[in-house]
Symmetry: C2
Subunit: 588 residues, 2 copies
Amino acid sequence: MILDKVNMPDDLKKLTTNELNTLADEIRSLIIKKVNTTGGHLGPNLGIVETTIAIHYVFDCPKDKVVFDVSHQCYPHKILTGRKEGFTNPEKYNVFTGYTAPEESACDLFKVGHTSTSASLATGVAKARDLTGGKENVIALIGDGSLSGGEAYEGLNNAAVLNSNIIIVVNDNDMSIAENAGGLYQNLKLLRDTKGKAELNFFKSLGFEYYYEDNGNDVQSMIEAFKKVKDTNKPTVLHVKTLKGCGLKAAETDKETHHYILAGTLDNTGGGSAAASVESYNSITTDFILDKASKDGSVVAITPATPGAYGFTKDFRKKLGHQYTDVGIAEEHAIAYASALAKSGARPILSVLSSFIQRTYDQLSQDLCLNTSPITLLIHWGAISGADSTHLGSFDIPLISNIPNMVYLAPTNKEEYIAMLEWSMGQNEHPVGIRVPFGAVKSQGVSDFTDYSKINRYKLTQTGEKIAIIGAGNFYHLGMRTAEEIERKLGFKPTVINPLFLTGVDCDMLNSLKNSHNVVITLEDGCLAGGFGEKISRFYGNSDMKVLNFGGKKEFTDRVPVQELYQRYHLTPELIIEDVLKLIPANV
Amino acid sequence: MILDKVNMPDDLKKLTTNELNTLADEIRSLIIKKVNTTGGHLGPNLGIVETTIAIHYVFDCPKDKVVFDVSHQCYPHKILTGRKEGFTNPEKYNVFTGYTAPEESACDLFKVGHTSTSASLATGVAKARDLTGGKENVIALIGDGSLSGGEAYEGLNNAAVLNSNIIIVVNDNDMSIAENAGGLYQNLKLLRDTKGKAELNFFKSLGFEYYYEDNGNDVQSMIEAFKKVKDTNKPTVLHVKTLKGCGLKAAETDKETHHYILAGTLDNTGGGSAAASVESYNSITTDFILDKASKDGSVVAITPATPGAYGFTKDFRKKLGHQYTDVGIAEEHAIAYASALAKSGARPILSVLSSFIQRTYDQLSQDLCLNTSPITLLIHWGAISGADSTHLGSFDIPLISNIPNMVYLAPTNKEEYIAMLEWSMGQNEHPVGIRVPFGAVKSQGVSDFTDYSKINRYKLTQTGEKIAIIGAGNFYHLGMRTAEEIERKLGFKPTVINPLFLTGVDCDMLNSLKNSHNVVITLEDGCLAGGFGEKISRFYGNSDMKVLNFGGKKEFTDRVPVQELYQRYHLTPELIIEDVLKLIPANV
């Protein structure tokens, strides 16, 4: 293997063109094998192999600085910067993160997992260089899909006036995770079609020097392209045409499916397609939307660029037709757009991942809640999880639930979820968020007839004594298990409450608990700081009630197995009961 | 007065060209007089008079829909849509808000006070029209300054592919609040210089039909321009050159000073310039930055477009030279840029208003805190206030303090503020926010030698018994006044604590209070939900300590006098003591 000779970028510089080409093939094979074993980002990494080799051939990392946007496409970079074992040795497949990580290598500048950030970050790196007298190149590598995000534009607009060296490499594979959305993509197509020669040029309009390279999957062409821009003293865009999934037929043909794959997908042993036949909260959601949309022409489903995460398949999107909008990686626009749709008599329903709703605080506050627009906002993957530190689902409750006028609901099973969807889509008073349950579908067996227009009215599901357990959303079931365990171990039946609402306190119910309870336990599947339980603690602050809040700590965890986090945060019936007994050992 | 004949937009359509011109003069005079009496946005409104008259002459509001970006420039619109009394009758000067307000008129679609939102909102309005079979025109009116915000770009990128009627009117007066920042502005200049004929065109690159009008302050030219784009079936940009401050010499000449003026400014009775000689937290900040920057070439002061709010005068900016960056209305970029500067060895210090830091949650979380970049972030105007509902400073504590790794400090006087600035700018471990005290400068008389590297260590400032008052930031002084009042009325000395840190709990100190205290009172100058006090309540949940949290309610208030809010939220010593006595009437 040529790769045997390559540990760090400097090793590349000794290779011949033929060896570099062979190296590209080797890297591609390693990525396919590794990703098909562990799951991961496939298409973006296959497309960027040659560009990455050329970067490290032409530039001198870590002296020269490369900032990877979202870093979906950093696997070849990792292989070439001291971390190839993570790809050659199956036992080390999980040693390195799927994103750039400064703790792994001096060639990685930032932890990045949210998109559209590279131009901004690189502008800061370049400005620091200018202030401290450095001379190195600063390179941002951004995909065409990431250009739809507002932060990317803000970064480009500022990079363009830096008046010194900064090189924005636009890796244009004509795809976001799904198809690209937005007017910019017509211009990128025009530029590709004219090999960069069209006068109408988004990048030039912002003031960049502009270069185009049509052979982004040819090492030698890319080396020459980078040589042209190296050591430039002007903000420069190098627009490179690449093929997403390059070198793997299936990934080249069906780019969306192969953007990120589960383990075993390429051998048809992956869980992806089989799961479709099993009922999931995704299938419940898509069934609901199709039904609503067919009955009401003003219903619009909206996603910011990750339709696959919600089960919004190509078939589903096709069925919805003009009643579906993918706004691109533009969560801010998604919220403002939905707010305006709702205010203008349409029925928007918007799906966003917990981790990405973070991109919209101001839009939730100003565009949406200040205008009390009745949208339905579905927050997916909101849960304490073993995810990468860049994709945690622990912060949506603190983020959303402290914004005035918002109603944030936490269903605990499918019947509640459907009833909440129905209520939300039929009302005109409130911006409504629903935290879609995480995990396997649970059922209460009968339909839910709760009147959700009675805001902040909690549901008492088990009347008991001494201890009351308020289990929110996903953790209602943990609450029930804890209640059973208390009854078994301590010999009395505690009260159990399903709060339904995360945005407020049911004063009547909480006051009524004071008569026959000494302890209230709150459970939430997310970060405690700023979250649901603290509101209950505040409520009881002036009373004799003891309150114990259970949930996640305020911290960024990184691929920590969820069971380990449950132990750390005392999120099992046994550990909860231990804490309660510590509090009042003799007799609650 | 011609205006006597005009109450609603339809009345305009009966006027001759001469009458319309006279009307423009009348409106201009009314705005100057009113704004000079009450304070308000002057320059933007003077520049947009003729455009607004022409919009209402050509289109049919409220059937046709106009979305005002940030709505700094909606005064002429208000005058022409049933609200002229708010400008003709001094007694009604304060009846209407300074922004669009749907509750005032069917011609106002949204409450808007944060910028860069109109293209997104208008896209939603237009899509709803298309879904429900409407035919009306949808118009977004956006200033050139607002185009630097990411949400504006996301909106434009999506508006461009709407495939039906949407008209983006770009009101280009070649100014943001201060000078424009970013590469886009070179393109706008090129377009103005070529009267819209240059091939290189930002708007066309996004896919818009494009029209240019050079005479934005001529009613007849604007009428003709709007007639050309009315009823278009394609996403269209009408780029209009206007003069900010048009018709008032002082405002035309010094555009920045006259963007927003205080009452009396035009008669030289305004507070603006006189204030400069008095020490303020702004002057302390600018003195500190100038000193640091002169000693360390890597210090960079950053603002997102509102330098005046922080006392960053032209002279100050000139002194800093390349050590100052105004990034435009691009708060997201500002945070990422600062994070990268800090990671690359520079010393960024970034000033943002409390209300606008809302635009950066994800950047604070991902670009900044996940990377633990040691920036200094100054949050100004963080306080419960009588502001407009779009500019409240009540939400920065819930927003910032629940993000992992962040250190958010709340100085209570100038010595603490300076010590915190010094510490933050000299350390390499933490992203640090400082909530700049609001109001007149307070002094403790001696320098502050606190070691702020001891994170979450609170300061005990008065040792007492029974009641402990934790007064954060601005409200530390309310805490002291309350303590004095308790001593006077109840005959014992309560403990007083200055927490200094908003992002964590001093467990040792809070535990030590348990011995000789029954009640802890927390005071914070902001929204309670998700804020500081709730963390104290959670801490004491398993103990006998009673906790009372005082602060703002989770609500959008709109120009409610601050004293009225203090009454509403029980933020006076008398009302606090009342609540304490209700809790334990006999004997604390």
